[in-house]
Symmetry: C2
Subunit: 909 residues, 2 copies
């Protein structure tokens, strides 16, 4: 029970009991109202009842303590004195608003009751004072509508029997009246009609809810306060708290504030504004206003709002009057407030104001939301203006905003108008518009005619690579956030939606149906994808490209000053390496040797690899490996050359061999011809290689334990490439990484082979001395658990958090789509662990493993090369546990750089 | 360098410097020779050079220290004095043997050099003394053969150029001589011929090895000692140490001992004996001897040995003279020694003896190897005789020996004669003999005619269950130790070999070829399986059944006194439950609800389940679930009834649903008819359910998160069965186990549903109060890592170490066959982690998890229900880390009981 504590905080005039730091006690709105008063802004007087009173209210079984009553009375007296009016005064009544105020806004909480204090005792005086009966009765019917709805019905938890709440019933009564009278707008209803309607409203409220609408200012005020408290335990609010894990005992504050009216004639107005342009970031005062209107009219979009000033007029608003022109003195005052607010809060502010008969009142201020490009512009401008320091500038652009800047996106305005026809998982962000195709070959054929395509597949496989590259966007029916399509698309920064399982796909018939629309789409039809949200639209939606901003490089240079983590990239081709360098990568953290068997120019090496797989004996295998060597060396050498002086981590062949055996009859026949064997031999080998759970099968280092000759060829390719570059005067930094290890002895076994090959190559190139680093991918739980032993042979660990997540959860990333939705929906997991590292399980293993490894080898270099390397939340975690670097796809490099810097700044505080 | 330490330990007469406890210093053989002297047995005098001298030898670059030379000289003088002869004495020379003596015998180590001291200086005197030139020259040629082979060639590391070692060349010379002379046996060669041969031998040695055969007693002795030391670093010995992880610096001891001869005429003899019968355990002196022979003659099997005494004569040996009859005094002395040894060592002894001209000499004693049944018999007899206490009796029968007792096995004698035709993994022990069949249907057809069959499959699936049950043994081409076939067969105690991948199987053609034999086997052909070793034989091999021993129950009662771990069983049927109770199970640790959809009487419930899977909507699914309920309840109730008063852990449905959709066209058509749908609908659903990695897919609790109604039906079946039994006055103890969890929230989610159903059932049965325990299977690494949170809802953990091993290693048990051989072969892992728990990885997780869970809930019950519950090594580990129980298949229950008792006894010391 509260006894000593202050329950009510006053604000008004230049006085405030609270300030902006007191969000927990006063809620966000109340704290900011107090702060505005403190810095001398014109805020309608009022008071905030603390969040602690909400808890007290429940402890008292839904009642108010004497202390609260007393403090409210005192604060009300202060308010009356400040505003020069009395609440409930029959001659010149003060009217009040009442709003909830949780720490952050919460769906399901009571929003606002306006015009509290209008009742049979005060209406006549109010009419007399304003000389405007229509204004008064309109205010009164609004009060009845809001109060009956949120205080009498919702806060009491009454469920309307026929699904029609009191609000809907009153709305209908008003519509019926307008229809009967032939009125087009609310504005046409006369004062007399509003008076009669108010009486009918009160009767309806009694009929429906069984209680009278309160006809006393006092009763309305306490009813509203209680209503706010009750809404804290409304069904939707409780559900929301469960989901967001907000404790029940936080409670909500109540803000009681004097009413001011923007609808008291031509010298009254209302508006919202931003201290800078929230869409572009331009340092211009930007906003909208309406003369003779209430705040909700601006938001509701019934009337087109006017521009705030001349400078920000557009073609659409060219002919509308600006506040600057219409009320120059008020505008000047507002503009001064804008500067004062930015000067005070050091950030762009989103404000609400009302002008009552020529007097400006500030109703709200808060940090304004902004687009990615605006965030970047403002951060750099404010830094230039000396308003913020570099650390703050770095923190002002979120990784999601940076991502937005880096991808072309669908125009959000156009998206709003279009209806979604399907939803999937947002696998790779950005927007894409194109004609649908159903096969990689068609994608390439369309691309040859310069047509943009969206490739739709059940799921993609390595054989689809070229078609995927040729298409503008990718949409798959199956697969999760780390399915093949998602991984490849993110690597390229290409828009992609996966797991769109509502889709009915007929690949053979080149037809598809989407759940949200009743038509069949065929090849060539246009659709648009929002890869950031996983939404599919019909037709062509226009896109925005914001990546051209010259501030980007300057910003990223500042970012790099503050990060500790190194940033590398996952790149398998010279093109990817070049791209990643442009994006600021400091090395390659993952070069997958198998990549040379996919995609462009892979035909010849793939044929060699297939020979190796189909070899009948060691001799044949050896021969095929010798043939493969030059291809492998060329691919490795060109990448080492591009990354000269920077580390490049080569991962040995990882996938199970059956991935490389052709599946189609045509390809099999081609292979059989080439190798001079029978198709049935290929089928037999394919069957032998078949695995029930290939993810946990004969792959990674297991292949190289079974076939050391395959490992040898890879080592040789790396060392020969390095030796040749050294001869050319370059400085190659190869790192050799052994994948899917479970035991330190796999490493000693491989290291012996590796050192032998190195010695052979070194001898052939004498006196060239090849330096390299030997390490392992930690991607099985056992490798993580035995990291102390692993570190005896390994000079570096690179955590393969994709596979580590798969095995730690036992979640196959290819199959997780069937239940991930249920898991997220039932909040059994908070986020997809393939997107954001699961710190409690997988992260614990990573941390344990780093500690274990460094115990044995203090200089052990630790990084990660899973998809999590490009996820901001995950990067924070990796920074915290002391990794040396993260590696991500080229397009995610800037995001990783920013996340790393933000993590470092947050963690230094 | 050794300075203070004693290097040479003497033995002989009744004096010995060492004793049986000094194995590390003297090796096993030396320590036991000393001990025999100490207790007064007649041992030919000699001395042991310590293992430390071996290390010293290498430190000195292959030389002998002055201290060693001095101590050897002193010990030799002692030996000479004790035996009354002098080494190198031209008149009556003492001859010596020299043997290596590691802590335990090691392949590749030098074995024995006999007759050291024979040279041109001593041969004449020896001939004079023995009056037997043939004996002397025969001894001499043996010395040359052994010495040149092991000391001059092998220990020096000489690799014979043509692959023909000196030993083979000398052997051939002797063979040539015999051929030339027309002799049948070595015995026919005359003294003169042996003399000439010896000279030729020495010439050959010089020609081949380039050095003279040493012609001095002293040189021979030091050569032999050095040879023993050198053999410690021989290729095979080093390889063996690498594999067995024996440190290089252990070294080997050298035993130098006076020669005694069993081949000095009709009053000389040699033999081996066991203090009790090693095959049956019967307390009778058992052994074999040969008159006028050397030890190697008994072992080599050239002459048929005679029985030791009258009592142990068999039909085969009925007419051979016993030592008891031939030399009654010596026999009496030997019999006394036998009693003395058992009295001293408290265990059955395996001894070697030689009788030289009527005098008995003991050459070796050690604990004798024995069969399972003999181990049991001896342990119980010795306990009865008061020779050992109960703890010792429990330790005397190894789990492998108990396993042997519990399974019929192939007769080892017959196995020796038969040739293996294929090898696979020993999936389920015992022996099986039968006619081969290729389909489950054929197995059942043969069984109907009372024919025993071996079912051969590529791999088995749940649909094969009935055929598997009908067959005597199972042989599969694919799969590992925990594949379906292996698990099911072990559960039944049925002989099974899996992963026999050398086999060429043509199931459709009902033909198979085995790698070890050049013929095609067809249906009905006989083969025999040794499931304990994974060997396949052609034809019918006779079997032995040792399980009828009445001592078994008495022994197991003693065992149970000493164990701390509870032993439960994995059982899904009333029959299994009954069997497990008979074997001593204290509860069911794993009742798989899905079992009711496999095997006998599963047609109706399986059809209902398929309806559920194919249901189009919630309504249909609900209806099918209601139909399934009574079947489920009946199955659960009957098991709870049998296990009345004992806990029964019910695991919710675990496999992915696609396992239950029929694969064959016939079955699909049947299902389509039954459900009134199209086969294409089944195909479509089947395709939707397909998973790339089903092991990590939509299974376990994931199914029940997606389909809570399926969980509800299972909870209802369990609670209704329990309520009905309570009404019948019984005491059901159901435990509900949630499989494949990764998050504590899965448990809170399920527990809420479970408690709701319980409340409904309880209300319907008021005032019956149903008690149950709620827990989870810990089988994903994440569950183990978050066990503290898991223990908030879980009252028990049951570790599913099969899946936990799969996910910790990333080893799919269905696919592991492709590389497990390479991993074991290259010693990358020490043992198959699916057989014996991997303590460093998986075990660490289990231990961490138990500790985490008990931190939160100290009374948390922890058990395991993976296959490791029946593996002795694993049970030891589980005892050590404080689990409460292990659960294993019914046939493994006695083994688990014994292992648990042995673990407890070992760990209490």
């Amino acid at each position: 029970m509260l006894t000593e504590k202050k329950r009510v905080y006053r604000f008004g005039g230049k006085i405030a009991d609270g300030d902006a730091t007191m969000r927990e006690l006063l809620g966000g709105k109340g704290a900011n109202l107090a702060e505005m008063c403190k810095i001398g802004l014109p805020v309608p007087a009022g008071f905030t009842i603390t969040t602690e009173c909400c808890t007290e209210y429940y402890q008292l079984g839904g009642g108010f303590s004497e202390e609260l009553k007393r403090e409210v009375a005192e604060a009300l007296a202060f308010t009356e004195k400040t505003m020069g009016k009395k609440f409930g005064d029959p001659n010149d009544p003060l009217l009040l608003s009442c709003r909830s105020g949780a720490r952050s806004s919460m769906p399901g909480m009571m929003d606002t009751i306006l015009n509290i204090g209008l009742c049979s005792a005060t209406i006549p005086g109010m009419i007399k004072k304003t000389g405007n009966p229509r204004f008064v009765y309109d205010a009164y019917r609004r009060l009845i509508m809001m109060y009956s709805d949120v205080v009498m019905e919702k806060a009491e938890g009454i469920e309307p029997a026929d699904g029609q709440g009191i609000r809907q019933q009153l709305d209908r009564m008003m519509e019926d009246l307008k229809k009967a009278k032939g009125y087009e707008s609310d504005i046409d209803i006369t004062a007399e009609e509003l008076k009669t309607l108010s009486e009918q409203f009160k009767q309806k409220v009694k009929d429906v809810l069984g209680v009278d609408f309160p006809d006393s200012a006092e009763a309305q005020l306490w009813g509203s306060i209680g209503g706010v408290f009750k809404s804290w335990n409304g069904k939707r609010a409780i559900a929301y708290r469960r989901i967001e894990k907000i404790p029940d005992d936080w409670g909500t504050a109540v803000n009681v504030q004097s009413m001011v009216f923007g609808n008291m004639g031509e010298s009254s107005a209302t508006g919202v504004a931003f201290s800078r342009n929230p869409a572009t970031g331009e340092n211009k005062f930007y906003g909208e206003w309406l003369v003779n209107a209430q705040g909700e009219d601006v938001v509701a979009g019934i009337r087109t709002p006017n521009p705030l000033n001349e400078d920000t007029k557009t073609d659409q608003t060219r002919n509308l009057q600006s506040l600057e022109k219409a009320m120059p003195t008020v505008y000047a005052e507002l503009d001064e407030i804008r500067l004062k607010l930015e000067d005070h809060f050091h950030d762009m502010q989103d404000i609400e104001f009302t002008i009552q008969e020529g007097k400006l009142w500030m109703l709200q201020c808060r940090v304004g939301k902004r687009t990615g490009i605006a965030a970047l512009q403002m951060a750099m401008d404010m830094l230039g203006e000396g308003m913020i320091d570099e650390r703050t500038a770095v923190m002002r652009v979120s990784p999601a905003q940076l991502d937005e800047i880096l991808h072309p996106v669908l125009n959000p305005e156009s998206e709003k108008k279009a209806g979604a026809i399907a939803h999937g998982l947002p696998a790779s962000p950005g927007g894409a518009v194109g004609q649908i195709v159903f096969t990689p070959a068609d994608a390439m054929a369309f691309a040859a005619q310069n047509k943009k395509t969206i490739l739709i597949r059940e799921e993609t496989s390595p054989e689809d690579i070229e078609g995927m590259r040729a298409s503008t966007g990718i949409l798959t029916q199956r697969g999760g956030m780390t399915s093949h399509a998602a991984l490849v698309a993110r690597g390229w920064g290409k828009c992609c939606i996966v797991g769109c399982d509502g889709m009915h796909l007929d690949t053979a018939g080149k037809k598809v149906r989407f759940p949200g629309i009743d038509r069949v789409f065929t090849e060539g039809d246009y659709i648009s994808l929002n890869g950031s949200k996983g939404i599919v639209y019909e037709g062509q939606i226009d896109t925005i490209d914001a990546s051209e901003n010259p501030l980007f490089v300057r910003f990223m240079n500042i970012v790099d000053k503050y990060r500790r983590l190194g940033i590398r990239t996952n790149a398998d081709t010279p093109e990817d390496a070049v791209k990643a360098l442009q994006f600021g990568a400091e090395g390659i953290g993952l070069f997958r040797i198998e990549h040379m068997f996919y995609g462009r120019n892979s035909d010849v090496p793939l044929m060699k690899l297939r020979k190796i797989i189909l070899a009948d004996n060691e001799e044949e295998r050896k021969h095929a490996l010798d043939e493969l060597l030059p291809f492998m060396k060329a691919s490795i050498k060109s990448t080492l050359k591009i990354m000269d002086g920077k580390p490049v981590t080569f991962r040995l062949l990882d996938p199970p061999l059956h991935e490389f055996v052709p599946k189609s009859e045509e390809k099999k026949e081609e292979l059989a011809r080439e190798l001079g064997i029978k198709v049935s031999d290929i089928d037999l080998r394919s069957e032998q290689l078949h695995e029930s759970n290939p993810m946990m099968g004969h792959r990674g280092v297991r292949l190289h334990v079974s076939f050391p000759a395959i490992a040898k060829t890879q080592y040789r390719a790396i060392f020969e490439a390095a030796a040749e570059l050294l001869r050319e005067g370059l400085n190659p930094q190869p790192e050799i990484m052994i994948p899917v290890t479970v035991s330190a002895r796999e490493l000693t076994f491989q290291r012996a082979i590796c050192d032998l090959v190195k010695a052979e190559v070194a001898a052939a190139h004498y006196p060239i001395d090849i330096k390299y680093s030997f390490g392992t991918m930690i991607e099985t739980p056992r490798a993580a658990l035995t990291s102390d032993r692993m570190a005896r042979s390994a000079e570096f660990f690179s955590f393969g958090t994709n596979d580590l997540t798969q095995m730690t959860f036992g979640f196959s990333r290819d199959d997780v789509g069937t239940f991930m939705g249920d898991y997220l929906g039932n909040k059994i997991i908070d986020s997809d662990p393939f997107q954001t590292i699961d710190t409690k399980g997988v992260g614990k293993l990573v941390e344990y493993s780093v500690q274990g490894g460094r115990c044995k080898r203090p200089e052990l270099k630790c990084g990660i090369c899973g998809e999590h390397g490009g996820d901001p939340e995950s990067v924070k975690f990796f920074n915290k546990i002391g990794l040396d670097y993260v590696s991500c796809s080229p397009f995610r490099v800037p995001i990783a750089r920013l996340s790393a810097a933000q993590a470092a700044i947050e963690q230094e505080i």
